[in-house]
Amino acid sequence: MQFQPMYYDGELIVPKIELNMRSSQSIGIITDLKRKQFLMNQLVNHSQYYLFRAGQSEYMRLTVEELITFLIKVTERNEHVDLLMDYFSLKEERKVKIKDLSSSKRMYVTLLRVFFAHQPTLVLEEPYFYLEEQDRRQFKRILDDLLKEKQVLILTSNLEDALISCDAIYRLNEFGFHQLDIRDSEEDKHEVLKQDEANITLQKISTKRNDKMILFNPPEIDFIESIDGSILVHAGGENYDCALTLTELEQRLLNFGFFRCHRSYIVNLQKVREIITWTKNSYSLRLNTGKDAVVPLSRSKLHELKALLNI
């Protein structure tokens, strides 16, 4: 998949991008609204790409069953509608008109259009944005099955959404197009820094914001993430830059109940409220903070976490 460079007001908005998509791979691009439009406008070849745009709506007066029947017929597939309704777990909503569904369910039903696409590449804009957790899980399951034969490109502005179902994630912004490091940490060599045993324990984490030095007590911190190599400390719904590396922070904060839950994340376990299971292989942690924050959890770290929490 190739994107040509795009200029807007004389500025380079989208650089030249070449994505080597292997089949059964899903790629996520985290970017803003304008760049999403630019990218999608380049994918005009209808025999190659199925575009699902965020503004997609549905035939509101049909029932769910009638809609699925219509989609089967119009795409000339041989599936039986009852089996598909089972597969989509929409048995209960069979006779409900689409306009009477809850907004999350309605979006889920609308998203099912991608299931019927015959194109080898599916491009989805913000698929998870309007979905509640249960519908997200359903849709991820369907997407995983589709991935056996197709490639999926997800365009979103939200890292957590991309983490749900992408194998590789890129960030596209004014600094260009860069891959985010989301591999599970078991693969990489731990460059364990043997920290000198200091006599005094550092209590404060120093961060910077607007050229001011701000010091945090560890319990104030919700979680720490690494984005594009820079470390962001999240506290009280705001984020602050930090000059230390994640490995250094992990060692400093180990005794304060912090946990390296992901290659790019350290979380304050005191603030974890819920472990979300998306599928057998993907998990997230929901935090008990004012803002609804979700942090990814690596599969390899799950056992460690369970042991730590005695569950």
Binding site: H46, Y59, L62, V74
Partner: protein, 237 residues
């Protein structure tokens, strides 16, 4: 371009269900019948009354329904999604037009029965009605293409009613003073009225054929224009 009756049939069934549940639009189905009922009493005293019933029905039923069907799909972005399925533009157009055709034919048959009109040549009458429905369906398609929402589609019917119903009638009244308006004689609705007024005694095949051919020519031209416009407009999106 391949045309699949299965896909067109699926679109027909889907649109039938959508249309019949959208009461704001499907209520238009009963207006021709009400008109026929109201004007029934006038009988032969009002020449062209039945022609008026038909001409108004074509606009507020045939064109309106077609424009709404297309505009609603555009409003919800489902048309764009349909373009990414194997369904071709012709499948979509045929599916929708055949639904509108069937509805118009049934309603107008009922209206004709209620009005009690007895045509001179039944086949010429049926053919004229069929050509007219095709002609007004094409006009409705064009309206639907130029409107983005259902609301715009219902408003876009007004120019159609002016061009195809109002103007020719008004023009005919002025034709004696301004010979230029004689051109409007060839508007499809005037031709339809002419055809309906041919009386039993003095009719020849030629009399019947001339209005029929003019209406057919209108239908063919407008259909071609609507199909070309449809494909061009969709490419832009």
């Amino acid at each position: 371009m391949s045309i699949s009756l299965k896909r067109a049939g699926a679109i027909f069934v889907k649109d039938y269900k959508e249309f019949s549940r959208n009461y704001a639009v499907s209520i238009m189905l009963i207006f021709p019948i009400i008109f026929a009922f109201l004007l029934r009493g006038t009988g032969p005293s009002l020449v062209g009354a039945f022609g008026l019933v038909l001409n108004i029905s074509f606009v507020i039923l045939t064109s309106f329904a077609q424009a709404c069907l297309i505009a609603e799909e555009k409003e919800r972005n489902t048309l764009r999604s349909l373009m990414m399925t194997p369904a071709t533009t012709m499948d979509v157009l045929i599916g929708k037009s055949s639904l509108v055709f069937v509805m118009s034919a049934v309603v107008l048959a009922i209206a004709t029965y209620i009005y009690g009109y007895e045509p001179v040549g039944i086949w010429a009458f049926v053919a004229a009605i069929m050509f007219s429905i095709i002609l007004y369906t094409a006009a409705g398609t064009i309206c639907g293409l130029f409107s983005k929402t259902l609301l715009e589609a219902s408003l876009s019917i007004i120019p159609v009613s002016i061009v195809f119903t109002g103007a020719p009638y008004a023009g005919m009244l002025l034709a004696d003073d301004f010979p230029i308006f004689k051109v409007l004689e060839y508007a499809p609705n005037i031709q339809l009225v002419r055809l309906l007024n041919i009386s039993n005694t003095a009719s020849t095949t030629g009399d019947l054929l001339k209005p029929l051919l003019i209406i057919l020519a209108w239908a063919v031209v407008l259909t071609i224009v609507s199909v070309v416009l449809y494909q061009r407009r969709l490419k832009d999106e």
